[in-house]
Symmetry: C2
Subunit: 96 residues, 2 copies
Amino acid sequence: MSTDLAACRTKIDALDRQLLQLMNERQRITLDVVRAKRESGLPVFDSGREDALLQKLSEINPGPMSSDGIRRIWLAIMSESRIYQALSADPSEESR
Amino acid sequence: MSTDLAACRTKIDALDRQLLQLMNERQRITLDVVRAKRESGLPVFDSGREDALLQKLSEINPGPMSSDGIRRIWLAIMSESRIYQALSADPSEESR
């Protein structure tokens, strides 16, 4: 393996570790959002906010990743948040 | 909106900006990997390395995100890398 290639892989590994930490932190805060919404009697899911987030991320995306790519990745991230929210759901939420 | 909810959203917005920067940095380095592989005459795609990466991320995942969730998100990230690599491809790569 060339030195360049090894150096690139070391950088990607470090980035992946940072991404992993940040995504888990995002997931923890997502659960805080669910709790805060329940306390305020607000609906937990808000597709309008998800759409606005995707739009904003596309606008501030510096590249080289495409905005379509960003959209696909965040849909995956937000989908995991929804799964996590559902698994952490208060049963009383079901009837709202 | 409660103060808690507003604070959580501010934190998520900040995390999303960091994630956006890191993913774009990862994408840039991915292109460096492609260049280094071409210079070394190595095949660009390496499904074994992707599998090993997914396995390692699952092992070091601190949670609360599930390992299945991590796997789904990284498949989306790596899929974007492949799209980007294909768009940036040297035409001579096609015949390898």
